[in-house]
């Protein structure tokens, strides 16, 4: 009996009771479709995370002062002065001529109330930095312009503000050229940032960016900076740059590797962490879907058992005509496998259609391996869950099977 004939005869068995077969098939189909689709959703969200992070700039290395919380002035003064990163340290790091470093941008940050004549906004993230900030990563200027190096030198009271903040403080017109008051100090708005994609609870568009000297002078004091954003020459040099920076910083701060006055990291490592969590999310979804496939498989066992009972007479006839135990076993296994394979194919089709739609804001991206995997698993489930009913059919004694009505 050729494979084709086995398939044809199995199809005949499957179509003998159409409604029952369709219902069983539906169970497998839903299982297979959900495996593929949920894996695709997990994969889709992983890719979104990846592209969001790579948008931040893969060349960027971030050095954070340890225990420096919001970078408040109080804490900076209590820290041991020779072991904190100050703007001076940042300047010397930039001037050190490290081969893989193209720029060093120090940042201080705090959180204060910002107001205009029309409105005010609490807990706005205030960042003091240098013009290099606008070149690192993706923080671009939307309208107006960035403050200049000269503004930093003169501690000018100018600021670039985020879009949300701009519309909150100036609901009726442009923020450009207007004055905002930060904790009592007036600043002139010279630019408004491009809209940023926000992740998490903080609104990346509710931010004030001003010259670092001014922020230090008015709010945080001239102690430690909270962050150094360092641009590597290219994305391949990130690790080398990180090593250089670590050595140089330790020299500048006069400390050993064991001292932990700062932490250093880059987008690549952030990316890896995010990918890991996205992957475990995908696995979790896959497991949930696999359970539904399992339930579908149990449905196959059930329907095959009913089928074997119903077709006892047929089994008897076949045995009388010379069917061996193996032939009967093969027939019922082939029927179970055909049933699940059909369900699998329909499930794949349903998943591919479903993957065209956004699911909870995530565009599913079908994993290449998930289709053959789901199909293979569905056939394997057919065989696995078909073994028991098929073995029961094969073990029937012909004389008893023939006596069935």
């Amino acid at each position: 009996m050729s494979l084709f004939e086995i398939l044809v005869s199995a199809l005949r068995g499957v179509t003998a009771n159409k409604l029952r077969s369709i219902l069983t098939l539906l169970g497998v189909m839903i299982g297979v479709a959900s495996v593929i689709l949920l894996l695709a959703v997990g994969n889709g969200s992983a890719q979104e995370v990846k592209s969001a992070i790579s948008g931040l700039g893969a060349n960027t290395i971030t050095v954070r002062a340890s225990g420096m919380g919001g970078g408040g002035g109080q804490e900076s003064t209590t820290a041991t002065t020779d072991k904190v990163i100050t703007t001076e340290v940042a300047d010397r790091l930039a001037a050190a001529g490290l081969g893989h470093v193209s720029s060093v941008t120090p940042q201080v940050s705090t959180s204060l109330t910002v107001s205009s004549t029309e409105a005010s906004s609490d807990s706005v993230s205030i960042v003091g930095t240098t013009p290099g900030y606008f070149e690192v990563g993706t923080t671009g200027i939307g309208t107006g312009e960035a403050f200049t190096a000269a503004d930093v030198t003169t501690s000018a009271k100018v600021a670039v503000i985020g879009q949300t903040l701009a519309t909150t403080l100036f609901p009726t017109g442009s923020a450009l050229g207007e004055a905002v008051t930060i904790d009592g100090t007036p600043f002139t708005v010279v630019g408004v940032l491009e809209s940023q994609s926000s992740t998490g609870a903080t609104d990346a568009n509710s931010v004030v960016i001003a010259p670092i000297t001014r922020i230090q002078k008015s709010f945080t004091g001239f102690g430690a900076v909270s962050t150094l954003s360092i641009e590597a020459t290219d994305s391949d040099s990130v690790d080398a740059a990180e090593a250089e920076i670590e050595i140089m910083l330790n020299q500048l701060l006069g400390q050993t590797e064991d001292d932990e006055s700062y932490s250093i990291g880059n987008q690549a490592s952030l990316l890896e962490t995010q990918e890991e969590s996205a992957d475990s999310f995908t696995v979790l979804l896959g497991v949930v879907a696999a359970i539904s496939l399992l339930v579908g498989g149990i449905g196959v066992t059930n329907v095959m058992l009913v089928s074997v009972t119903e077709r006892t007479k047929e089994i008897g006839i076949r045995k009388a005509l010379g069917a061996t135990r193996g032939a009967i076993l093969g027939q019922f296994l082939a029927e179970a496998a055909t049933l699940t394979l059909l369900g699998g194919v329909l499930g794949v089709a349903a998943a591919l259609v479903g993957a065209n739609y956004e699911i909870y804001g995530t565009q599913p991206v079908v994993l290449d391996y998930s289709i053959p995997l789901a199909l293979g698993v569905s056939v394997a489930i057919g065989v696995f869950f078909g073994v028991y009913p098929a073995a029961r059919a094969a073990a029937m004694r012909p004389i008893q099977a023939l006596r069935a009505v």
Partner: protein
């Protein structure tokens, strides 16, 4: 003449101890090639048990049964399946065609289990259907055929493997008079071709067509006679 089948003091006991039922109490029987034998008996006489033994659907508790030279009791399950496939052509009272399979597919079935290739299978199945006059109906499914036609398909299925023994269990039990004559006519011509036929029946007019009539009662052979009135009588009774 060669013996197709031989039973030697065959007993069949179901259950054990007090509840044991002795369906066959010691049957000695030999059937030669080309014989047309009818086995008669009232219900409960053991003729169905005998039929199951002859058809290798069941194994005797005691005694030996050899079919076409095989000692049936010594065969494995798979070997029994092969013997049923090659040596026996079954014809049942209720036709036992498989539903939703065309007449042709039903007739091909024993050849599939016999491992015959696709092309040859088709040719032989069509020839068998032609020999029972149903070549034109080969594409029809059992439910589209009359009782007589279904039994003719079943006969074609029994003939297709060219078996040593054709074993028929009340083949006309579910048929009207016209179809009965039709089927019995087929058996006559098969007998004339030299096929070995064992037919189990409780109807006299069916048994009258056979060359040899064996009557069993209460698990024993009580009568074994040659039927001189049978058309084209050719067989000889051999008492084992």
């Amino acid at each position: 003449m060669t013996l197709v089948l031989e039973l030697d003091s065959v007993q069949q006991v179901y259950g054990s101890g007090e509840a044991a039922v002795h369906a066959l109490r010691g049957i000695d029987l030999a059937v030669e090639a080309g014989d047309y034998v009818a086995i008669m008996g009232p219900s409960g006489s053991g003729k169905s048990t005998l039929m199951n033994l002859l058809g290798c659907l069941d194994i005797a508790s005691h005694g030996t049964y050899s079919l076409a030279g095989h000692d049936v009791a010594a065969l494995t399950e798979n070997e029994l399946a092969t013997v049923r496939n090659r040596e026996i052509g079954f014809i049942f009272q209720s036709f036992n065609l498989i539903a939703r399979m065309s007449a042709l597919a039903n007739v091909e079935l024993p050849l599939i289990y016999g491992g015959v290739g696709r092309g040859e299978r088709r040719t032989r199945a069509l020839a068998a259907l032609d020999s029972v006059g149903l070549a034109a109906r080969s594409g029809h499914e059992p439910q589209e055929l009359s009782g007589g036609q279904q039994q003719r398909v079943a006969i074609a299925r029994a003939l297709v493997t060219n078996p040593t023994l054709i074993l028929a269990d009340e083949p006309t039990g579910n048929l009207d008079n016209e179809s009965t004559d039709d089927i019995l006519g087929l058996f006559d011509s098969l007998a004339a071709q030299g096929k070995t036929i064992v037919i189990i029946t409780h109807e006299d007019h069916v048994a009258e067509r056979a060359h040899r009539v064996i009557t069993i009662s209460d698990g024993l052979i009580v009568d074994d006679r040659l039927n001189t009135h049978a058309p084209k009588a050719a067989g000889t009774a051999v008492h084992a």
